[in-house]
C-alpha cells in the first residue's frame, strides 16, 4: 500500500514534467499538440547519443536534450504551428497528427528501429527502508523532475521572458500593449513546452528504453495528466502527474495490471464530462 503510493509519487513527478509542456503549449497557444510525445522521444535520443558519444549520464544529458529540442520546437512552431493558430480545431488537430506521423517515421529512418538503452551503474540499485523498496533510477528521475519543476516555476515567475509567456497566455492583446512580441513568445513557449518533455524523456532513460515508437506509450498518459490538471495549467499538470502516477500504481492493488489504463481512461472521461476545466484550479 505505502509501497504503491511511493512508487506512484516517484513516477507521477516525472509524468508531471512530461505533461507540463503539453499544458503550457495549450495554455499559451491554445493548440493541443498531439505530436507532443514525439518530442519526448527526440529528447530520449539526444540523451542516448550524449551518453554514447560523450559519456554523459542521461541525468546530465537531459540538459542537452532540453536545449536541442527547444530549438527544434521553436522552428516547428514558427514554420508550421504558427500558420494554424487561427484555424479551426480540426486543422490544428490534424496538423499535429501529421507532425506525429512524420516525426515518428523520420526517427525510424534516422535512428533505426532498435530499442536503445543506456547502462549506468545506479540502474540496478535500490534503497530499502524496512519493507519499502525505492529504485535508484526512479528516485533520481523524480529528483531531476522536481528540480526542473522548481526551475520552471522560477523562470515563469521571475524572468522577463517567463512573465511574458504568462502574460500572453492570460491576455495576448494586453501583452502586445505592453510591448511583448506575441509571435516570438508563441515560438518560445512551444519550444519550452517540448523541451520540458524532452528533459523528462532524458531522465527516465535509465529505466526506459528508447525507440521511434516510444512516444505512443506516453501519449494517452500525457493527455490524461493534463486533463486531470486542467488543460493550460502548469501547476495543475504537475499535480495531475502525481495523481495519475498514484492512480496507476494504486489501481494495481485492486485490479489486474492489464486494466491499469482502463481505470485511467474512465477517470479521464469522467473528468472531461464533469469538470472540463480540470480537477485542480491553478496558475
Amino acid at each position: 500500500m505505502l509501497q504503491a503510493l511511493i512508487d506512484g509519487i516517484l513516477l507521477g513527478g516525472v509524468y508531471g514534467v512530461i505533461a507540463t509542456g503539453l499544458s503550457l503549449v495549450f495554455g499559451v497557444l491554445g493548440v493541443v499538440n498531439f505530436a507532443h510525445a514525439e518530442f519526448l522521444m527526440l529528447g530520449m535520443y539526444v540523451a542516448w547519443f550524449a551518453w554514447r558519444w560523450l559519456g554523459l549520464d542521461p541525468l546530465l544529458g537531459s540538459v542537452l536534450s532540453f536545449v536541442i529540442v527547444f530549438a527544434v520546437g521553436y522552428v516547428v512552431q514558427r514554420t508550421l504551428i504558427e500558420r494554424v493558430l487561427k484555424a479551426p480545431p480540426a486543422a490544428q488537430v490534424f496538423l499535429t497528427v501529421g507532425l506525429l506521423i512524420a516525426i515518428e517515421n523520420a526517427a525510424l529512418m534516422v535512428f533505426g528501429s532498435e530499442f536503445r538503452s543506456v547502462s549506468v551503474p545506479y540502474q540496478v540499485q535500490g534503497y530499502r527502508l524496512g519493507d519499502i523498496f525505492i529504485g535508484a533510477p526512479y528516485l533520481y528521475a523524480f529528483a531531476a523532475a522536481v528540480i526542473l519543476a522548481a526551475a520552471l516555476w522560477l523562470f515563469l515567475e521571475r524572468s522577463w521572458t517567463g512573465r511574458a509567456i504568462r502574460a500572453v497566455a492570460q491576455d495576448a492583446m494586453a501583452a502586445t500593449l505592453v510591448g511583448v512580441d506575441t509571435k516570438r513568445t508563441y515560438g518560445l513557449a512551444f519550444g519550452l513546452g517540448v523541451a520540458l518533455t524532452a528533459f523528462g524523456g532524458a531522465v527516465i532513460l535509465p529505466y526506459i528504453t528508447v525507440s521511434p515508437t516510444v512516444g505512443g506509450q506516453f501519449v494517452v498518459l500525457m493527455f490524461t495528466v493534463v486533463v486531470l490538471g486542467g488543460l493550460g495549467s502548469v501547476a495543475g499538470a504537475l499535480a495531475g502527474g502525481i495523481m495519475v502516477g498514484v492512480v496507476q500504481s494504486m489501481s494495481t492493488l485492486i485490479f489486474p495490471i492489464q486494466l491499469q489504463n482502463l481505470c485511467l481512461f474512465v477517470i479521464f472521461i469522467a473528468v472531461l464530462a464533469l469538470r472540463p476545466q480540470g480537477l485542480i484550479k491553478g496558475a
Partner: protein
C-alpha cells in the same frame, strides 16, 4: 450624415502635436467603422473622444496601437508614422494604452501586472522609482500588490491597468472607457488620477461614453458618430453644445 471638417480639430503646428491622425479609416472585414477621421493631441493636452456605443471610439485607439492591421490613412506620433509598425513595438515609442475592459493579467499579482508594464524598459534602473510613482498615484495598489489581479474589484483592476501603462514611461496615454461599469465614487477617484497624470506631463487621449465626466478633465474634445467626427471644440463649448446630447440620446 454631414461631414464636419473642423480646422480647429487639427493641431496648429506639427511640432507641438504629440499625436496626429489624418483621414483614418478602418474596418473589421465589414463596412468602415471609422471613416476619414482626423484629429490630434498636442503635447501636454488631455483630449476626450466622445460618442455613443459603436461610434468607433475604441477602434480609433486600437488603430493607433497598431492592433488593426487593415487601418488606412495616416497616424503620426511625434512625427513618426505609426501605421504598418508591428503592434508590440508601439509601446516602446512612448504610447501607453489602457484598453477597454481593463485587460489586466488575471492570474498575475498586482505587482507582476505593473512589472509587465515595464517590459519594454526591462533593463532600466528607474523601475523602482516608477513603481513608487504609481503607488503614490494609487495607494490602494501598494496595499494589494500581492493580490491576484483577477480577484480584484473593477475599480482596482482599472487602476492596475492604468498603472501598468504608466510603467512603460508613456508620453501619450490612451485611455479607453476607464469609468465603464464603475461606481460613481470610484469614477471620481480615477478621474482625479487622470488629471494628476496629465499634470506630470503625459498627454492623454481619453475615450469615454460618460461625456460630462470626460469633458471635466479634458481640455478639448471630439464627438464621433458612426465613424465620423461630427463635433469638436474646447471642453467648455462642448459641454454647452446640445449636439453632444443629441449624439447620445437622440433628443
Amino acid at each position: 450624415m454631414p461631414e464636419t471638417a473642423l480646422s480647429s480639430a487639427t493641431p496648429d503646428a506639427a511640432a507641438s502635436a504629440v499625436l496626429e491622425v489624418r483621414d483614418l479609416s478602418a474596418a473589421y472585414g465589414g463596412p468602415d467603422v471609422l471613416s476619414a477621421v482626423t484629429l490630434g493631441v498636442r503635447t501636454g493636452e488631455t483630449v476626450a473622444v466622445l460618442g455613443a456605443n459603436t461610434a468607433g471610439k475604441t477602434t480609433l485607439l486600437r488603430a493607433i496601437s497598431g492592433l488593426i492591421p487593415k487601418a488606412r490613412g495616416h497616424i503620426a506620433f511625434e512625427g513618426l508614422a505609426l501605421l504598418g509598425r508591428p503592434a508590440h513595438t508601439i509601446p516602446g515609442l512612448g504610447i501607453g494604452h489602457v484598453p477597454e475592459g481593463r485587460h489586466v493579467f488575471p492570474r498575475m499579482t498586482t505587482l507582476d501586472n505593473l512589472m509587465m508594464g515595464a517590459f519594454f524598459h526591462r533593463g532600466a534602473k528607474d523601475i523602482a522609482e516608477r513603481l513608487e510613482r504609481v503607488f503614490t498615484l494609487f495607494p490602494r495598489l501598494q496595499e494589494r500588490q500581492a493580490q491576484l489581479a483577477g480577484s480584484m474589484s473593477g475599480g482596482e483592476q482599472q487602476m492596475v491597468s492604468i498603472g501598468r501603462a504608466l510603467m512603460g514611461k508613456p508620453k501619450l496615454l490612451l485611455l479607453d472607457e476607464p469609468s465603464h461599469g464603475l461606481a460613481p465614487i470610484v469614477v471620481d477617484e480615477l478621474h482625479g488620477a487622470i488629471g494628476a497624470i496629465n499634470r506630470q506631463g503625459v498627454s492623454v487621449l481619453l475615450v469615454e461614453q460618460n461625456a460630462m465626466l470626460a469633458l471635466s478633465v479634458a481640455h478639448r474634445g471630439y464627438v464621433l458618430e458612426a465613424g465620423h467626427v461630427v463635433l469638436s471644440g474646447s471642453s467648455q463649448s462642448l459641454s454647452a453644445d446640445p449636439g453632444v446630447r443629441r449624439a447620445y440620446l437622440g433628443v
